[in-house]
Symmetry: C2
Subunit: 348 residues, 2 copies
DNA sequence: AGTTAGCACTCGAGCTAATAGAGTGCTAAC
DNA sequence: GTTAGCACTCTATTAGCTCGAGTGCTAACT
């Protein structure tokens, strides 16, 4: 028995060949295929011996006796960690992305959806995009608008011109002028802060400052708080869910239905994406996935920033037989350039 | 040959039995099944004779010689037009809907998504919901907010507290006070009008009225116009796309992929739904569908109103073998009560 | 005239057996 | 250490077969 694991260069080459070929074709890869298609200068018999070792060490799997080998999750893991060559994003994709950048998109939700579409179009996988976490963006302007006698709308504009609104039910009626004064005071005190920076001491001092408006301020601060709570789970945009159906591994409708079900659980996806935050590129392969229904998928996520702060995540879902290097390069490129797109919204 | 089409009561009963059974089981229905399961007081041989007529007239189809009959699109059409019995919405569904009504939902997009989820949950089909057309809703409040030296944000609040926002690039800088005055003037002139009522003569008279602010007003009215243009295609919310995979008729992955593809084309769905506007309940069966990829589906849509005006549409997509009466009753109930939900957003 | 029992006929679903071929592991020679 | 050769294994495909559901037609019955 060969208990010592000695991954020499030739074994690496063979493993890479198996993974590449299997990602390309989806069919188990045999020793003859490798010796013919990939120039290793050795015969299929030698390769068979090497493959036997690779299988013993768990990097590849034989679906049945008379079939070739397919990579295991462990094999893919080694591949993405050490073996994979990063590739540049393709020129035409670059151009298409630039063109999108030139388009006039003035709503953040449209932009997010457009980004999701681009990712799924570029990768041929299902894409996910989470909108910027509002807590980490800075307050730019607040405005109170009278709706009727007892209710007021609070509009909050942040950093990248993300607009949220909130109806506040007032105990005390307030007229337009009062609301304008209040809006000004709020702006003076809070502008430039991120929403998560608005804490209890700050709120107390605000109440004192507001003097006669104290009681109204209460409701308003509640509303701000409510905004934070509600927006704790960011909006999730999906695109290209149909792409999963392209892959024979999703021919089993029962399993595939479960995946589609998961994709509709936006909270689940939100937590999945938020875990990836701050990590740059993160790759989850098959069984590594925490969500049971996703254990036959791989997920790649990439976080993106506004003003140097990580505020959201983009990602793709595909079969474990995923074109990791391609997907990584695309996600990495888009995540690095997403802040430009977001800034463009601000420019009006 | 029997060229005269004489649809007597017994034939109707048999046709109804075939459709009911096929909707239930998805299997072709034989004459013996009908004579045993549905009490018609005649033998299978008699039913065979009648079925032969029904087939000749195109209401049912025999997939192959030794199979039972399945309804044709024409058969379903007759069924939904004349034969179908409307059924009351189930009690537990009613309760669940009421409970949703009690929940605090203060954003229109959340509400729309919630409604879509309810519909797909109730019907087990894929649901579509289009957000209220902003053009037909009335202006409640407009507010200009300064962002930076050269740009201003226009917030428009309409009827059901639907909020839209728009960044305006100004040629002339404008300070907070000017913007407040302008906001007030705009509100006085335009409040209560629907957006589509804001036409050229009105705009002209506004410009005169605004006097010294004339040049600024231009940009603002452009922005309003832009809002109308952009929001011409309403937002579409989908839920339960995975439900399609429940039905054996969508086992063919190639066709199903096409349907999923169509479901991602929001513009297409928007036009599909908008065509249904003003029509109350509308049923599109199989081949009747204009979209090729949808010719194996049936679609039911129902329009909904705000303040007596039709502003949007809800609907379901399923196999032609759809539980029409159930789906119709659910859509009809929800569409009739949707305005209550929308009003609740207004109440804060 | 309408209904029904009886029966031959058709055709798909599902089972079995046979075959072809891809790929392996092992052995012996290089 | 490498490789040619070969027996062996297992799947996928095909062909042939049977079974049974369902039909249409005919002849008898009411």
């Amino acid at each position: 028995m060969d208990f010592e694991m000695n991954l020499d260069e030739r074994k690496i080459k063979i493993l890479k060949a198996i993974i590449k070929d299997y990602i390309l074709t989806g069919e188990p890869v045999g020793s003859r295929t490798i010796s013919k298609k990939y120039e290793l200068g050795v015969s299929s018999a030698t390769i068979r011996n090497e493959m036997s070792d690779l299988e013993e060490w768990g990097f590849i799997i034989q679906p049945h006796t008379s079939a070739g080998r397919i990579p295991s999750d462990k094999g893919y893991r080694l591949y993405v960690d050490k073996l994979m060559e990063y590739q540049a994003i393709e020129d035409d994709q670059l151009r298409l992305f630039e063109r999108t950048l030139e388009q006039k998109i003035d709503q953040i939700d449209e932009l997010m959806m457009e980004v999701a579409k681009l990712i799924s179009y570029f990768t041929n996988y299902t894409s996910m995009v989470s909108s910027p976490q509002i807590q980490k963006t800075k307050l730019k302007h607040m405005q109170l608008i009278p709706l009727d006698k007892r209710s007021v709308m609070l509009i909050i504009v942040t950093n990248a011109n993300i607009v949220t609104n909130n109806v506040i039910r007032m105990d005390v009626p307030a007229d337009q002028d009062t609301l304008n004064i209040l809006s000004n005071m709020l702006n003076e005190s809070l502008r430039g802060l991120t929403i998560e920076e608005i804490n209890l001491p700050l709120i107390q001092s605000l109440k004192l400052k507001m003097g006669i408006y104290g009681e109204i301020v209460n409701s308003i601060l509640d509303a701000i708080d409510h905004t934070i709570q509600r927006k704790n789970t960011p909006d999730i945009y999906l695109s290209g869910t149909k792409n999963l159906l392209n892959f024979p591994e999703f021919g089993d409708l029962v399993k595939t239905k479960q995946i589609f079900h998961t994709l509709e659980e936006k909270e689940l996806l939100a937590s999945l994406l938020s875990k990836a935050a701050n990590d740059g590129i993160k790759i989850i392969i098959g069984q590594e996935n925490e969500i049971d229904e996703m254990k036959h998928c791989s997920i790649i996520t990439a976080s993106y920033e506004i003003d140097g702060k990580t505020v959201g995540t983009i990602g793709v879902i595909g079969p474990t037989r995923m074109e990791y290097s391609k997907a990584v390069s695309i996600l990495s490129y888009i995540s690095r350039n997403l802040d430009k797109l977001l800034k463009k919204i601000s420019d009006g």
